[in-house]
């Protein structure tokens, strides 16, 4: 199901599943500086239950809190192995 249909951004990907950031990298320059770079491994560790609440996101071995609109600026390829 979700695994066969890769989600386009980090905002939508299933919880805990590793993905790779798409080749163009994150849309926001600051996100790139924080390490959201092309082909980097990312996953969502936690989602808020409130609409608009922040996501907990792991990129490589660092963990960040991102708002939904920020996570939506991180395009991802299909699930990584």
């Amino acid at each position: 199901m979700t695994t066969s249909a890769p989600a386009p951004t980090l905002h939508q990907v299933p919880l805990l599943q590793w993905h790779r950031i798409a080749a163009q990298g994150a849309g926001h320059p600051r996100l790139q500086e924080l390490g959201f770079l092309p082909l980097e491994n990312v996953r969502v560790l936690q989602r808020s239950w409130l609409p608009g609440g922040a996501l907990v996101v792991q990129v490589g071995d660092a963990v960040f809190g991102l708002r939904p609109d920020e996570a939506a600026q991180v395009p991802v390829q299909g699930p990584a192995q």
Binding site: G25, H28, P29, R30, L31, Q32, E33, L34, G35, L37, P38, L45, Q46, R47, S48, W49, L50, G52, G53, A54, V56, Q58, G60, D61, A62, V63, F64, G65, L66, R67, E70
Partner: protein, 655 residues
């Protein structure tokens, strides 16, 4: 675009033991640089252990926190190299890149690149790299290399790498990077020996400085620097990722879980405030008894006269009244650094981001605002880590509405005097009132932020969150103890300095001119302070303040808690005959109406009178507009709220 690894000029890379020793002996002969102090800057990612390293190098003790932005001001210290030469070390705020995202990062980048107006470019920059996060640290190294900034690399957190059974070969890395690399840690005494030896190498200090560069677009810089970092790691055989901090991930699964996390956060905040009041009771009782005993002893030992009046009515009544609150302040200042160093605070900020976002702030504002419960000054300085201007200044503006610890003495005095010590639904009424005062401050802050949001909406939306959640670690008892000790010293220095001075001045103003012989009222009525108070009372009469309160508010401008000592002195001198020497609380309880007591309590929720806070706001904003409008706004708010409270209470029949 990025420089090839190992450019010839910097290929010399002393890092192993023998290289360093050779370099030391050469450096020692050529030490003629006593004229200009050599300057070393410490640069690194947030949470890479830079500040602990700085403490170890310079011996100066300061705050070490596990949260981005603890180092909000430049800190300087002196260190000695192995050969005994002095070097100035500058501790810079943590940064992810050389493109500043917030003001504290701008400070770091500006200094290293020589753009800072207040700080000359350092002779040498030491990039502190967390060995468990090599790639990220090396991105910063790559950026500095691209700009040809003279540097060396310090590998920190190697103990964590070893704990995983891995290693990082510093010599190999140095050859690859073309700059010196040494291991350094702040948590062991011998952890900085290699660096101290390396700094005796003179050639390190005499490298050409870069000319100004035209910057690339931020995005291509980030990619180019990362590509360089990865190339270096591959070349040094270090491109195997380390295992992640499993303990932190497991803890986060619970602490960041929406429901469990929120419950834990609320429980923690409750515990903090509970502790401030419950744990402090016993030591406060001791200090109170001690003050009373000293006062009685002096009264017995000295004949009635000016000296006895100065000591008992002025100093003991004034200073003792403030000293009582030391335990509460220490307890508050115990919890905040513990939460900060453990790495929990950014998690709390994350959980609260949704709420804060709704009022136009960001979760990042949580740390400055929490600090403001201790004191607004560190809170306002911590707001520098907020990159968005609107969010930052709104945070600064509402920081004084968080009930700071200096207001506690005032609340405690007034609540003790006016609120009966009985239970309501199993809870102490006094505690509930106190909670209500804190809540009133927070609610008004929310309202102000919300209004500011409506105002600022035209200028775009609130700033980004994008906040790192560092690995958890146990706060070190020594760091916490040092922090507490410094806090106690600052408080005692204030008590012994400004509070004592103001108390004596107020005592003098309240005692002179001396009442003429045969005057039947309290002598303070004819004194200078009495007359000023009577003049000011016209302004404060509508909100129920009498002239004694008006007098006490003036020295309270220096620090809010001084109001308690001022009231102590004014009332001690207002007594006639047998009343002298009675504790302050029952005195004001008998003298003021309940409406006045409540009005003064509400006044202090907004109380604008803290010159130190206004001075910091002026410094931070670089102009008078913000501090002046803040003082006017808070005064208006305090006056209005106290007026409403007084009138309502009076209508209720409590006047």
């Amino acid at each position: 675009m990025s420089a090839a690894p190992g450019r010839p000029k910097q290929a010399r890379a002393p890092s192993g033991g023998s290289d360093v020793r050779a370099a030391t002996s050469v450096g020692a002969q050529v030490d003629i640089s006593g004229l200009a102090q050599r300057r070393l800057a410490l640069l690194g990612n947030p949470n890479c252990g830079k500040t602990a390293l700085f403490n170890r190098l310079t011996g100066s003790q300061q705050k070490v926190g596990n949260y981005a932005g603890v180092t909000v001001e430049l800190k300087r210290g002196l260190m000695k190299t192995a050969a005994g030469r002095s070097v100035t070390v500058i501790d810079l705020p943590g940064t992810y890149s050389l493109n500043a995202g917030s003001q504290d990062e701008a400070v770091a980048c500006g200094v290293v690149l020589g753009h800072s107006l207040s700080e000359r470019a350092p002779d040498l920059t030491a990039v502190v790299v967390d060995a468990t996060r090599l790639r990220r640290g090396l991105r910063l190294v790559a950026a500095l290399r691209r700009l040809q900034v003279p540097m060396l690399v310090l590998l920190n957190m190697m103990d964590r790498v070893r704990a995983q059974g891995r290693s990082v070969d510093a010599a190999q890395l140095a050859r690859t990077l073309g700059v010196p690399v040494v291991e350094a840690t702040g948590i062991r005494p011998e952890g900085t020996d290699a660096l101290r030896q390396l700094l005796d190498d003179d050639t390190l200090w005499h490298q050409p400085h870069p000319a100004s560069q035209t910057p690339l677009s931020v995005e291509s810089q980030a990619r180019a620097d990362d590509a360089q970092a990865q190339a270096w790691l591959a070349a040094a055989g270090l491109d195997q990722p380390l295992g992640e901090h499993a303990w932190s991930r497991r803890l986060d699964r619970w602490l960041l879980q929406p429901v469990v996390g929120t419950v834990v956060l609320l429980a923690l905040l409750f515990l903090v405030f509970q502790a401030v009041f419950a744990w402090a009771e016993w030591p406060m009782g001791l200090i109170e008894d001690g003050t009373t005993a000293v006062g009685e002893w002096i009264s017995a030992a000295l004949p009635d006269g000016l000296l006895r009046s100065l000591l008992v009515d002025g100093i003991v009544a004034g200073v003792g009244g403030v000293l009582v609150f030391l335990p509460q302040i220490l307890i508050l200042f115990f919890f905040i650094p513990v939460l900060e160093e453990s790495g929990y605070l950014p998690r709390a900020a994350l959980l609260l981001d949704r709420l804060m976002h709704a009022i136009g702030l960001s979760g990042r504002a949580f740390i400055p605002l929490l600090s403001s419960f201790a004191c607004a000054i560190p809170g306002i300085m911590a707001a520098r880590t907020i990159s968005d201007r609107h969010t930052r200044w709104t945070t600064v503006f509402i920081a004084p509405l968080m009930t700071c610890s200096a207001r506690l003495p005032v609340y405690a005095l007034l609540i003790g005097a006016f609120i009966p010590a009985r239970k309501v639904g199993g809870l102490s009424l006094q505690g509930l009132v106190l909670f209500g005062l804190y809540a009133l401050g927070i609610l008004s802050a929310v309202a102000v932020a919300w209004v500011a949001k409506q105002w600022g909406r035209a200028r775009g939306q609130a700033g980004p969150l994008m906040m790192e959640l560092p690995d958890y670690h146990w706060p070190r008892a020594k760091d916490v103890a040092i922090g507490l000790w410094q806090r106690a010293l600052i408080f005692l220095r204030n008590v012994g300095g400004i509070i004592l001075a103001l108390t004596v001045i107020l005592w003098a103003l309240s005692s002179f001119p001396v009442a003429p012989a045969g005057y039947t009222g309290a002598p303070i009525e004819v004194s200078l302070a009495g007359r000023i108070g009577h003049a000011l009372a016209v302004l404060f009469e509508p909100i129920g303040f009498n002239w004694q309160i008006a007098v006490a508010l003036i020295p309270g401008l220096a620090a809010r808690e001084v109001v308690v000592s001022a009231l102590g002195t004014v009332y001690a001198l207002s007594q006639t005959g047998d009343d002298v020497g009675t504790a302050l609380a029952p005195l004001i309880a008998a003298d003021w109406s309940l409406a006045t007591g409540l009005s003064l309590l509400v006044w202090f929720v907004f109380a604008p009178q803290c010159l130190a806070t206004l001075a910091v706001v002026r410094k931070e904003s670089g102009g008078w507009l913000l501090p002046v409008s803040m003082a006017a706004f808070l005064f208006g708010l305090a006056y209005t709220a106290a007026f409403i409270t007084y009138r309502l209470a009076a209508a209720w029949g409590w006047a």
